[in-house]
């Protein structure tokens, strides 16, 4: 069979079709597949067997890092490195250290979230096989796609095509690597 095959892609008009197709494919036993849609379709990801993401944890860690960095920096510089008598206030004026601690917490958390999202999504990925699909342009506009990939362990070209055809898509195409 074609070594240069990325997978087989079906194009649907309605999100519900996609959702059902994915559920079915999963039951059949396909795992290495992905769905593409112009906006988020509830349930598809779960149907693909994608349960939970580690993003929240990343964000939490980022936040903690920010808080610690901020407070440590302020405490060290004001108490240890160059203690100065500022208006008779204590060197360790912790209430005054809170705002910056808060801000850096948010900053680090946000950065962690954004970078984490890109990293986990493997973005940027300017070149991707699915773009080879002629009609894939519409994936970002109106249509819904399901692509069952060739490296799935029970990928059989004909079975997959038949399976997808059975979900009455607009079209079914082979996607080159």
């Amino acid at each position: 069979m074609n070594e240069n095959l990325h997978g087989i892609m079906a194009e649907f008009r309605e999100p519900e079709q996609l959702l059902n197709a994915v559920r079915a494919a999963y039951e059949v036993g396909y795992r290495k597949m992905d769905a593409y849609s112009p906006y988020v379709v509830e349930g598809v990801a779960e149907a693909l067997g994608f349960k939970k993401t580690r993003l929240p944890l990343l964000v939490l860690l980022g936040g903690i890092a920010g808080a610690v960095t901020a407070y440590a920096m302020q405490w060290y510089s004001a108490v240890i490195d160059y203690p100065l008598n500022v208006g008779g206030r204590p060197l360790h004026s912790w209430p005054a250290f809170v705002p910056i601690t808060f801000e850096l917490t948010v900053l680090f958390a946000a950065l962690a979230g954004a970078i984490g999202m890109l990293a986990l999504n493997g973005l940027p990925k300017l070149h991707h096989p699915v773009f080879n699909a002629p009609q894939f342009k519409r994936a970002s506009q109106t249509r819904f796609f399901l692509c069952i990939e060739s490296d799935d362990h029970n990928f059989r070209l004909d079975e997959v095509r038949d399976f997808l055809q059975s979900r009455n898509p607009i079209s079914v195409t082979e996607v080159e690597k």
């Binding site: 999100p15 994915v22 992905d34 769905a35 593409y36 849609s37 112009p38 906006y39 988020v40 379709v41 598809v44 990801a45 693909l48 994608f50 993401t53 993003l55 929240p56 964000v59 920096m73 302020q74 510089s77 004001a78 490195d81 160059y82 100065l84 500022v86 208006g87 206030r89 004026s93 005054a96 250290f97 705002p99 910056i100 808060f102 801000e103 850096l104 948010v106 900053l107 958390a109 946000a110 950065l111 979230g113 954004a114 984490g116 999202m117 890109l118 986990l120 999504n121 973005l123 940027p124 990925k125 300017l126 991707h128 699915v130 773009f131 342009k137 994936a139 970002s140 506009q141 109106t142």
Partner: protein, 451 residues
């Protein structure tokens, strides 16, 4: 919101295709209109005026402004606070309303966020220009210097640096993340290769994978969750620039909430000031419907009431505190040399918004537009009153003085509109000014519910 009386969020007869087309065509298809060119040219002229004013103040010093002793803070700070305030609506709409599941935010959050960024850009400039020696601004940042010195963490100005810096960064991230799917759409709808390439790079190769969508949404929610306290904190920190001082009229515990309310108030005013012309100009009445205007107006009304409460409690507290300095300051605000400014702000921020109690006015774009403009003026005046009248007569009568903005002050203020408008006009031309993916979602949900 009970649906039967509610105006729809999107006019009927739209599916994701037409939505996509209508929004992307503004950028990709429709030719340069005369209106856009004219507006841009005017904005650009103002921007050049801004540059000139900045060049002059950098070469001569802040002495060209009206600032003096006792009124050592002038327009620069007033403009800073004003712009920052305006910069609050965007994040408020996209973050807080998102968490509150207000899906009417959908069609206005994109350019509200853009507005936030451009407002922050203007705001960010003023503290720098305000400095006596702008070329050493970086001494406010912590870094290993040759003097073993650090910023003075007890100063609210340092908090400001971090607050505004964080807010700017997070807003950009939030905005950009939200843009990615739309950039992909642009990439796929663009005809010309270079345009495709540009949007292609910017969209980072987004392909709408379900897993990606999942993480995308998660991130978007998390960011919203982070931005919500942030947006509240930023203007609170800005308010501490005043509240941590001992100056009568500044030293007040109500400042943080009262500043935040004021910020959102002025923010929504600016949203309307922009939305109403845009929807007309690009015939987006179907997306930015009367309902959006109505809701925004409601938010304005609510925040206007909070701000009014702020004014009242300020007056009450100064009487209640029985502090001779506070009392004098309050009376001086109302009846002193700057009384006209005070009554102007009361008129714009307290009296005028009362009109928004009436649906007829809330749903009348023209009226709303005028009210929004008045509120913008009113909020600027409020900051002017807070800064100037508090300073010009504080503790030592012997040191009392008066402040007048010079023509350079006004040039810098007006010029900053130029910067804001220029950026905004460019934004309209190169980016989808309404979130396409979210609109699709909306249209979809709508068709669902109609089924």
């Amino acid at each position: 919101m009970n649906a039967e009386v509610e105006e729809p969020l999107v006019a009927s007869g739209y599916d994701s295709a037409s939505v996509t087309q209508k929004i992307t065509d503004i950028v990709l298809k429709c030719p340069l209109q005369r209106g856009w060119l004219g507006g841009f040219a005017f904005a650009f002229i103002l921007l050049m005026l801004f540059n000139f004013a900045i060049a002059w103040v950098l070469s001569k010093g802040v002495g060209i402004w009206g600032v003096n002793i006792p009124v050592a803070w002038g327009f620069a700070i007033v403009n800073f606070v004003w712009w920052i305030g305006i910069g609050h609506a965007g994040t408020f709409i996209s973050a807080i309303l998102l968490l509150l599941h207000q899906d009417w935010r959908t069609s206005i959050n994109r350019f509200a966020e853009a507005m936030t960024l451009f407002a922050l850009a203007c705001a960010g400039l003023f503290p720098l220009l305000h400095l006596g020696r702008p070329w050493v601004f970086y001494w406010l940042l912590p870094y290993p210097d040759t003097m073993d010195l650090w910023p003075q963490w007890r100063s609210a100005l340092v908090w400001d640096v971090f607050a505004v810096g964080t807010y700017l960064t997070v807003s950009i991230i939030f905005w950009y993340i939200g843009l990615i799917p739309d950039l992909a759409t642009m990439r796929d709808r663009a005809e010309r290769k270079p345009v495709q390439l540009i949007y292609g790079v910017l969209s980072l190769g987004w392909r709408g994978s379900a897993r990606h969508w999942k993480r995308f949404h998660m991130t978007y929610l998390l960011l919203a969750g982070l931005a919500t306290p942030l947006v509240l904190s930023v203007h609170s920190v800005v308010s501490t620039d005043f509240a941590t001082a001992i100056v009568p009229g500044w030293h007040s515990t109500i400042f943080p909430p009262y500043f935040v309310a004021g910020a959102i108030f002025s923010g929504f005013a600016m949203v309307l000031t922009l939305a109403i012309p845009i929807r007309k100009f690009y015939n987006l009445q179907d997306f930015i419907t009367i309902r959006h205007l109505d809701n925004s107006a409601k938010v304005m009304l609510a925040t206007a009431l909070m701000v009014s409460y702020g004014y009242i409690s300020e007056g009450f507290m100064s009487w209640y505190s029985d502090d001779k300095f506070e009392i004098y300051m309050t009376l001086n605000r109302m009846f002193g040399p700057y009384a006209p400014a005070y009554w102007l702000l009361i008129f714009c921020n307290v009296i005028v918004p009362q009109a928004l109690w009436f649906k007829r006015i809330r749903t009348n774009p023209a009226a709303l537009f005028i009210i929004a403009l008045l509120v913008n003026v009113g909020m600027w005046t409020e900051r002017y009153v807070i800064v100037i009248t508090s300073l010009h007569r504080d503790f030592m009568p012997s040191a009392w003085g008066i402040f007048h903005g010079t023509r350079w002050d006004w040039m810098t203020l007006i010029g900053s509109f130029g910067l804001f408008a220029t950026l905004f006009f460019l934004f309209l031309r190169v980016l989808p000014s309404i979130s396409i993916s979210e609109m699709r979602d909306l249209v979809h949900k709508k068709s669902e519910s109609s089924k």
